[in-house]
């Protein structure tokens, strides 16, 4: 299959001009565009794409970027406790705020398009270079050529932002292609937590998103993104952390919406003594697909990484987890762990879990585990031991299953929203059964 030659060089030039970008960004976009034209689509021979049927994405008909129709963001989170907020709707920066003390300390929290104008030097070295390279595949090239909006966060050396920053990215009617980018840059010894909500999109939309988290030496970064896109949306997401020496990163990805959520989540541990936690949770609606490809890449010695992905899989849904732990020859004393837990909620639910260990060092500790449970066994246990009605027991089992991840989410507003969404799905599940 050849992909859509529906996009044109002219669109790249116009987009870049509209955003008022520095020339180097336009040049990079054009270079990516030229490579994109000839890059092959991922094939089903490729392990990471083996389970993905690209045909229903309608790539051949794609040739335009999502534009807004003037709607306002529908669903906003309670911002209480956030030290800063950025709201993007249909790609436009709708509002932003940042506590004055952080701004005075040199923290930048704004849209990526703004940052390109106000702080081009910060974006230049980090954007799609080491973390998620533009040329990684056909979709990252498309993103590099035509990304149209994003979130940017920079925390200078030694500065600590104690309370989380909140970014909301929403779509109104959606349609066509939407390519949002997030760039979080924590300089040496800096500390920050960024939480993102992605939601909306009514029409058939292809979202190709990239999140890059760069934690320099000794930095501590937490990045969380939870998506609840509309049912006609398909997302291909690349979310990766680049972890420097003695840095500590916690990434969490939550998947609630979209008929297809294909997510490449990973951490590259590139300096001695780095640590990364990778968490993921999912509870798709009936008939949706969640396809997580995770990567724990240990390039330096004495690093640790822990991964926990878990989710509930309703009737007719399919969940794929492919988790790679890769240890380079120099990465001695690596300690890497990976777990994937699935809870099947119907006979027709499907979950595949594949660990992949690629280990080239000898003094390492690497392990993986996967569990596949169905509601009934655990439910019985509760029913027997507490005499609870079936529906209550079910609710408790599912809520309890998600609790370890939920309790780690930053901001009460985000936690409440996710808890509500999970409760709604549990109810629907019970409706489907009775």
């Amino acid at each position: 299959m050849t992909v859509t030659q529906g996009f044109t060089r002219q669109q790249v030039v116009e987009l870049s001009a509209r955003l008022g970008e520095p020339e180097w960004m336009r040049e990079r976009r054009l270079a990516a565009f030229d490579q994109w034209l000839t890059a092959p689509l991922p094939s089903r021979e490729d392990e990471a794409w083996r389970h993905t049927d690209l045909a229903p994405l309608g790539l051949d008909d794609l040739g335009a970027l999502t534009t807004g129709n003037g709607s306002a963001p529908a669903h906003q989170l309670d911002e209480a406790g956030a030290a800063g907020v950025v709201v993007l709707h249909d790609g436009a920066l709708v509002s932003q705020r940042l506590e004055p003390e952080h701004a005075a300390a040199g923290v930048v929290f704004t849209s990526l398009q703004e940052a390109l104008v106000s702080h081009p030097e910060l974006v230049r070295d980090a954007f799609m270079t080491d973390c998620v390279p533009a040329a990684e595949d056909k979709f990252t090239l498309l993103h590099a050529a035509l990304w149209q909006a994003g979130v940017f966060c920079y925390v200078p050396r030694g500065v600590e932002v104690a309370q989380p920053l909140l970014a909301i990215t929403s779509l109104g009617h959606g349609g066509d292609a939407y390519l949002p980018h997030t760039l979080v840059l924590a300089d040496e010894g800096a500390s920050v937590a960024v939480a993102e909500q992605h939601a909306g999109g009514e029409e058939s939309t292809l979202i190709v998103s990239v999140t890059e988290v760069l934690a320099r030496r000794g930095a501590r970064v937490q990045h969380t993104v939870v998506q609840d896109w509309g049912d006609e949306v398909a997302e291909i997401a690349y979310r990766r952390a680049h972890v420097g020496a003695d840095a500590e990163v916690r990434l969490c990805v939550g998947s609630l919406g979209a008929w297809l959520d294909k997510c490449f989540v990973g951490a590259v541990l590139d300096g001695r003594g780095g640590h990364c936690d990778l968490h993921g949770f999912y509870f798709p609606r009936a008939g949706q697909r969640v396809d997580n490809n995770t990567l724990q890449e240990h390039r330096a010695s004495d690093c640790t990484s822990n991964l926990l992905f878990k989710g509930a899989v309703p009737e007719e849904s399919e969940v794929v987890f492919r988790g790679v732990i890769r240890v380079h020859p120099d990465a001695q004393k690596t300690d890497a762990y990976q777990t994937n837990n699935n809870l099947l909620l119907g006979d027709d639910a499907r979950a595949d879990s594949m660990p992949v260990l690629e280990i080239e060092a000898d003094d390492v500790k690497c392990s993986h585990g996967a569990t596949l449970g169905s509601l009934d066994e655990e439910e019985l246990f509760y029913l027997r031991s507490r005499g609870l009605p079936r529906a209550d027991a079910q609710r408790m089992v599912i809520a309890g299953f998600f609790e370890p991840i939920l309790e780690k989410l930053p901001l009460t507003g985000l936690r409440d929203w996710v808890a509500e969404e999970l409760a709604e799905r549990i109810e629907r599940q019970q409706g489907a059964e009775s």
Partner: protein, 104 residues
Amino acid sequence: MTQFKRVASLADIPPGTMLKVYLGHRAVAIYNVDGELFATTDNCTHETASLSEGTLNGHEVTCPKHNARFDVRTGKALCFPAVVGLKRYSVRVEDDDVFIGPPA
């Protein structure tokens, strides 16, 4: 016919052949067995493979990947390595139009 969707014309699926169509975002395989049509999910239940790219022999479809066989009339898995059956869909033909409906 509210739940049925036109997905192909009969001429696209001569007897003894199969066709992959999409119902929303799901791939469905339609089989023509001596003039009678059947439909199941297109994805093999063993790993991942498109059954309509395999071979159809009478009412048995063979997966192109590891040769699991399924009965297209019932969806049943007939041999290793598949153990789980295929979901079936209802099919209707009106004149030259083929419609797929809810799971059967």
